[in-house]
């Protein structure tokens, strides 16, 4: 005897797509969200756009972005390391996403200022991720999905290859829901610092988590506990440079720092450690978090001068500022002589005569400097001087469970669970095993959420 047809564990984009789809297919659905109502929605709260293939302009995006082009982009960022059938399935299913989202009440807007490069490939939903989440919750609740907040899933109970019930905690009490199918869409484990330390050691203490404090990977662990097969590098993090003054959790998009290519980056010893001019956004966006994670104290500083101030998207904190490099070093608690030496050496190596062209890989480089700055190199010589203190900011983790094309979770023995499904960050490592493709995490979550919802409902509901 079941309490409900489908239990959805999680409360972000993938969970909501799954719950809505299962309900629309006739199943009774309970959704268990670990966060309280005002913090519901997981990392989806911090998103703003979703990537999908489309032919010709539509309400959400401009021009054509073919399936082949999207697949090529995915293969490029993952360097080919992807489950090809699942990748192709995601790309194919993405064709209908924009319309499906509209049917659930989502509205589209023009790309935000400063994001024109995404206007063709990605759709921007009105108001960003929290508004998207709010819209989905309203639709789900109107359709009759039962939503439980502050319900953290602790265990999945199986009978052989079939899930029988899901156990969750709320207010210190334990609850058990018997179900005919379970869909886990509860995100990654980036908010569990202890778990991160298993792979990263004490360095993980200094990571800032850009998203929800509720992504502790408890449901992911529960799936591993019943024999789900692991996929993705457990050490894999998507990690960018964020302002060190940012809150430990939930700093979102406003704490990211994109100033590094405009000057130099130094570590706590006042030394440069990587080519600041290596590549354009978004590649540079994705590498600096890991680079800083490898520096002493997981700390670095972006140093630049008055010439380039205002040339990048402003962040939530103003940069630190001083009239001389010596005084700036004092503000940053760096050894002043060391920083001055580093900057002088950098300035002396900048090849004269180049005109910096931001937005393209120009030919302004350093000569005889290690590491070099291969583009956008210009002297840091115009007072006042500025600095952002930096820390690694974790966006998401790549570790997850293996799934099949029906979103069913694969067991150790290679067979799938009959009625355990996964969607979103906890399985995106099947497809996005590494790298970053703006708006594609939501694509995977939406596609597999829909598939999981449909399949979970189809098993039990007669048309």
């Amino acid at each position: 005897m079941s309490d409900v047809d489908v239990v959805v564990c999680g409360g972000g984009n993938a969970a909501l797509c799954a719950a809505i789809q299962a309900r629309r297919n006739g199943a009774t659905v309970t959704l268990l969200e670990a966060a309280p109502v005002h913090l519901r929605g997981g990392n989806t709260r911090h998103t703003r756009d979703i990537r999908f293939a489309h032919y010709g302009p539509n309400a959400a995006a401009t021009e054509t972005y073919s399936e082949q082009e999207l697949l090529d982009d995915l293969l490029r960022v993952t360097e080919g390391e992807t489950n090809r059938p699942l990748a192709e399935l995601t790309v194919r299913e993405s064709l209908t996403l924009a319309q499906w989202m509209q049917q659930q009440g989502v509205r589209w807007q023009r790309p935000l200022r400063g994001t024109l490069q995404l206007g063709r490939t990605n759709g921007f939903f009105l108001g960003g991720g929290k508004h998207l989440v709010n819209t989905y919750y309203e639709t789900a609740i109107r359709l009759g999905v039962r939503v439980e907040y502050e319900a953290a899933v602790r265990a999945i109970e199986c009978d052989g290859t079939a899930v029988r019930s899901v156990v969750y905690d709320r207010d210190g009490a334990e609850y058990r829901v018997r179900c005919r199918a379970a869909i886990v869409a509860a995100g990654g484990f980036e908010a569990d610092v202890e778990w991160l330390k298993e792979y990263w050691g004490p360095a993980a203490e200094h990571f800032l988590i850009r998203g929800t404090p509720y992504n502790k990977g408890i449901a992911l662990k529960a799936m591993f506990a019943v024999g789900a097969r692991q996929t993705g590098d457990p050490r894999g993090l998507h990690c960018i440079a964020v302002d060190a003054r940012a809150p430990k959790f939930d700093g979102g998009i406003v704490t990211r720092i994109d100033a590094i290519p405009f000057g130099i980056a130094v570590n706590r010893l006042g030394e440069r450690f990587y080519d600041e001019g290596e590549d354009l956004w978004p590649k540079r966006y994705a590498i600096w978090g890991n680079l800083i994670a490898q520096q002493p104290g997981q700390t670095a500083f972006a140093i630049f001068d008055a010439k380039v101030m205002g040339h990048f998207i402003p962040a939530v904190y103003r940069p630190l500022c001083a009239p001389t490099m010596h005084e700036l070093a004092c503000l940053l608690e760096l050894e002043p002589a060391r920083l001055v030496t580093t900057v002088d050496a950098f300035n002396a190596s900048v090849a004269p005569g180049g005109a910096v062209q931001l937005g393209v890989l120009d030919d302004c480089t350093t000569r005889g400097l290690t590491p070099p700055k291969t583009h956008w190199a210009q002297r840091i010589d115009t007072a006042p001087y500025y600095a952002y203190p930096l820390r690694p900011g974790v966006t998401f983790t790549y570790l997850g469970v293996e799934v099949d094309a029906d979103a069913r979770v694969i067991r150790h023995d290679g067979d799938a669970f009959e009625n355990l499904f996964a969607a979103g960050e906890c399985m995106s490592g099947n497809i996005l095993s590494r790298g970053y493709l703006a708006g594609f995490g939501l694509t995977i979550g939406s596609v597999f959420g829909r598939i999981a919802g449909t399949r979970a409902a189809a098993r039990y509901v007669r048309a």
């Binding site: 807007q109 206007g119 960003g128 929290k130 309203e138």
Partner: protein
């Protein structure tokens, strides 16, 4: 002057907004903020009044309380509006009424009614309050024509003058200067104001009784067009009397009565709806001062419209004298307090819309 803390807080919060920009699609405020990197008093005066208070940005904000960034744009802009009204109010001694809107509305409305009834008694005798009056010129047998029209014109001219002074000061500050008042900008702003486009929340409606509600825009339209209908009814009546010698009361199927009835019903329904929405709304993204002004103004409007409709309904009975006195008294209260009430919002919001049309004229919607 604005309170310093409010300006500093605006600067702090909009620095978060400019780093995020997710709310750009809801209204004009965020696009305007993106043209600025620091926020001072002029920006507070401008952005506060550009805001139409749909509150979607609060509902959609992942940094709203209890997040430590504590972003609550509707609250700070509502407070900014309340302070704008007082700051540009003239003379300063009367601008204090903005601080106690409910008291001001109650006292002046009550005083208006008492004084008008006393004037009726003094000129037409106490029996006029409960004597049936029929036929052409019936109203003027209760309140003489000159006693009605002289105070009305005086109050109206006073109100227009006060609003004009506030408008000139405000425009000069936010402009700065008056160059932004070009025909093209004014035309665009007129469109934005008449359609209340920024109460649409970019298509998502408002965050009040429920998320995505379109009711505020509907009720506001009813009040606005109702007010204009009543204004038109009064103008038509003045023409009928002045040029054609026809004295009120007019027949039920005459232009002034039809327009007046439609307008009155519009205001009664619209103002009641707006009050109900305010009562049902989340109190967090709001300012206590602004809410008090809203209630005071809506209640005053509601009283004028209800007494007007009551007068129409019972004008052939012996209650006409009293009802006329009460209605005219309520109108006195309304017009005395109008330059010091929420009524002024349209002046500053319209100018903010013109400024916005002007400064966005060269800004592509898809910048590099």
């Amino acid at each position: 002057m604005f309170e310093l803390d409010l300006t500093a807080e605006l600067d702090r919060q909009f620095t978060v907004c400019n780093a995020c920009r997710y709310c750009e699609g809801f209204c004009a405020v965020f696009g305007a903020a993106e043209l600025r990197t620091a926020f001072g008093e002029r920006d507070l005066a401008y952005l506060s009044n550009l805001c139409h208070d749909c509150k979607m940005c609060y509902d959609a904000c992942m940094f709203s309380p209890p997040h430590e960034f504590n972003v609550n744009v509707p609250a700070i802009l509502a407070e900014g509006r309340a302070q704008t009204y007082e700051r540009y109010g003239f003379p300063r001694v009367f601008a204090r009424f903005f601080r106690t809107p409910l008291t001001a509305a109650s006292v002046f409305t009550l005083a208006g009614i008492v004084v008008t009834l006393l004037a009726v008694v003094a000129s037409a005798g106490v029996a006029a309050l409960w004597t049936q009056q029929l036929g052409s010129g019936a109203f003027y047998r209760v309140v003489p024509y000159s006693a009605l029209v002289v105070p009305a014109i005086a109050l109206a001219l006073y109100g227009v003058a006060i609003l004009a002074i506030g408008a000139v000061d405000y425009a000069a500050d936010i402009g700065p200067g008056f160059a932004f008042l070009s025909p093209a900008s004014v035309g665009r702003a007129l469109h934005d104001a008449l359609t209340l486009v920024y109460l649409k929340g970019g298509g998502s409606g408002c965050y009040d009784v429920h998320r995505g509600s379109q009711l505020r825009r509907v009720f506001h339209m009813l009040v606005f067009w109702g007010f204009l209908c009543d204004f038109a009814a009064t103008t038509v009546a003045a023409i009928a009397q002045g040029f054609f010698g026809r004295l009120p009361p007019y027949p039920l199927l005459s232009v002034p009565v039809i327009l007046g009835t439609i307008g009155g019903i519009g205001i009664v329904v619209g103002a009641a709806g707006l009050i109900a929405i305010k009562r049902a709304s989340d109190p967090q993204p709001a300012s206590g001062r602004m809410i008090a002004m809203d209630y005071a103004f809506l209640a005053t409007l509601e009283l004028v419209a209800l007494t007007g409709l009551a007068l129409l309904a019972f004008r052939s009975t012996n209650m006409m004298g009293t009802l006329l006195g009460v209605h005219l008294g309520a109108l006195v209260g309304f017009f005395v307090t109008a330059p010091y009430s929420k009524f002024v919002h349209f002046v500053y919001r319209s100018l903010a819309l013109v400024k916005n049309a002007h400064e966005q004229r060269d800004v592509s919607h898809q910048p590099p």
